[in-house]
């Protein structure tokens, strides 16, 4: 299996500008077919998408062209790690690190399924070996080291490989004196690797400690959802923290808190907007503005690498 080859395919798809398909009028389509399609789950697969927020039926290609944001309500659908990289990086600028690292089964863990079986299933469904893709690339001409997590791979959970790939990427950034961008998207630590997973929180945070000492910039991008051990480690340690619109971000999951305190939580609890209000993030940014915002941060930061001491 060649992960990089797989990347290129999806890469090009995302940058296609010339529409080869018919542009549809969503309103017309809605009248004619919406009800019928909404009731049939299978039919929508591949071609049609129903917005999980407002129920709008959207033509799949149109949704892709709109960066997977609902036209009607602005709901941000999740991006895969490769879609995320395609969103942020300049065309053909990506060089992947450590594409061939994969998890072992150190605990010989079995719950309802065996861990290796879960891994294989995730690898087959995503075409990735693990829940994060790391490497270097350019954002509007700026060289960066970047990592993007993938929720489709075992809920983006952090096991040994996720921790190791991120730590290695951060170390590369220190060596090459580059800023780091990590796009988090994770349910937290991976239960199936037990304490080895938990310790990846320490590993990634320690690596960021060294990046900090080297005077290098770290931009943390929180996407939907970012929770648990990822929130309690690298995701919260950015010099600048950006939350994507509508992202759910928190340490403890909503359900667990509701069970503990036995009351319903407010609607906006743990949303990007909630975090901004409580001073936990620098800004909330819509997906369409994310690349430009990161570019602007890098512009404003440019020349400051290594600080005054480096001058």
């Amino acid at each position: 299996m060649c992960a990089l080859g797989g990347n290129k395919m999806q890469w090009k798809d995302l940058f296609k500008v010339k529409p080869k398909y018919i542009t549809v009028n969503p309103d017309l389509m809605k009248k004619q077919e919406a009800k019928q399609i909404a009731d049939k789950k299978d039919v929508a697969e591949g071609l049609w998408f129903k917005c999980e927020d407002c129920g709008e039926i959207i033509y799949n290609r149109e949704l892709d062209r709109n960066l997977k944001v609902c036209f009607k309500c602005g709901h941000h659908f999740r991006l895969s790690s490769l879609e995320r990289l395609a969103l942020l990086l300049d065309q053909e600028s990506f060089w992947e690190y450590d594409a061939n690292l994969q998890s072992e089964d150190p605990l010989e863990f079995t719950d309802l399924k065996k861990y290796p079986d879960r891994l294989t299933a995730a690898q087959q469904s995503t075409g990735l070996l693990e829940a994060v893709v790391t490497g270097e690339g350019k954002v509007l001409g700026h060289d960066v080291v970047i990592g993007a997590m993938d929720f489709n791979f075992m809920a983006g959970s952090m096991g040994s490989v996720v921790g190791e790939k991120l730590a290695r990427a951060i170390e590369q950034a220190i060596e090459k004196k580059l800023p780091v961008i990590i796009c988090s998207c994770s349910g937290g630590a991976r239960m199936q690797e037990g304490m080895l997973s938990l310790m990846q929180m320490a590993k990634t945070s320690a690596a960021l400690g060294r990046l900090h000492q080297a005077g290098l910039l770290y931009i943390s991008v929180l996407t939907d959802p970012t929770t648990g051990g990822v929130t309690a480690s690298f995701a919260s340690l950015g010099d600048i923290i950006i939350a994507e619109s509508g992202a759910l971000v928190g340490f403890t999951g909503r359900r667990v808190i509701e069970q503990t305190i036995r009351q319903k939580l407010p609607q906006n609890f743990q949303t990007a907007e909630f975090l901004l209000e409580h001073g936990m993030v620098d800004m909330v940014v819509e997906r369409k503005d994310l690349k430009a915002t990161i570019g602007k941060i890098l512009d404003l930061h440019n020349g400051a690498e290594g600080g005054l001491a480096g001058a």
Binding site: D111, S160, V161, M199, A206, G209, A232, G279
Partner: protein, 322 residues
Amino acid sequence: MLNGILEFEKPLLELERKIQELRAFSKEKGIDLIDEIKTLENKAIIMKKEIYSNLSSWEKVQLARHPQRPSTLDYIKLIFDDFLELHGDRLYGDDKSIIGGLANLDGLNVTFLGYQKGRDTKENIVRNFGMPHPEGYRKALRLMKQAEKFSRPIICLIDTPGAYPGIAAEERGQGEAIARNLLEMSLLKVPIIAVIIGEGGSGGALALGIGDKIAMLEHAVYSVSSPEACAAILWKDASKAQQAANVLRMTAQNLKELEVIDDIISEPLGGAHRDYAQIGSMLKAFLRENINCLSEKNIDNLLEERYNKLRRIGAFTQRLEE
């Protein structure tokens, strides 16, 4: 569990009760039963060894959570010659689930931090069941930074089900507070020793668990999530906690094998709660020996080793290109 008696201890307690009865009977009737009593006593010792050297993961979880198990406050009395508690994070409040302060260990001044659970409901309400809010972690960080300023070694005792899952904790940045401690502890220019004395629950425990020496008491447990939470998530059934405890590899022995911890500190036969003085002196000896050893090291080497230790943890392979 009733009155702190655990299920697996019952045969032993039954035998101990029989021995007592036999003694009383022998005394009352004036019959010489020394041989019989001796035989039973030997049997009890063998049984004790057998039970406590073959505890299942779930039995260890129960022992680690035993209400009579010595806590941070007990160890402060057992280990230190002097202790002065310091309060507050200077930002929001004082979290009573983490105790911090200055201590004297055989003439050496140290900064001490420890999670504190309660023994009964009343104490648990005060201590929030040993589950800190962000201000607890931030108090700990403030005191650790102070330790660095004055070159004092840091000792952390860990015993917590986890960070508190509540609205206020989220509003004040529970994730950030834990993350910040992980980053800062990896860089602190003083020796750090962390010991899990009871229950080490998830990121909430790890937040004081970075160090140059990480040890666990023999029957302590440390896990990525509580067995109950793990069972609820993976089996969709919280009653599968026993099974979860087993697969999570959360005992001191498992974690030494996985190279997550450096050392295991032996407990008195039957567990730490059976003999406070003995576990106190064992822990004290461990701390003294390791602080001495770590203090002799050059600080740059110490930090390099601390970093490398974290860097090594994990299991993965390189897949060859096909």
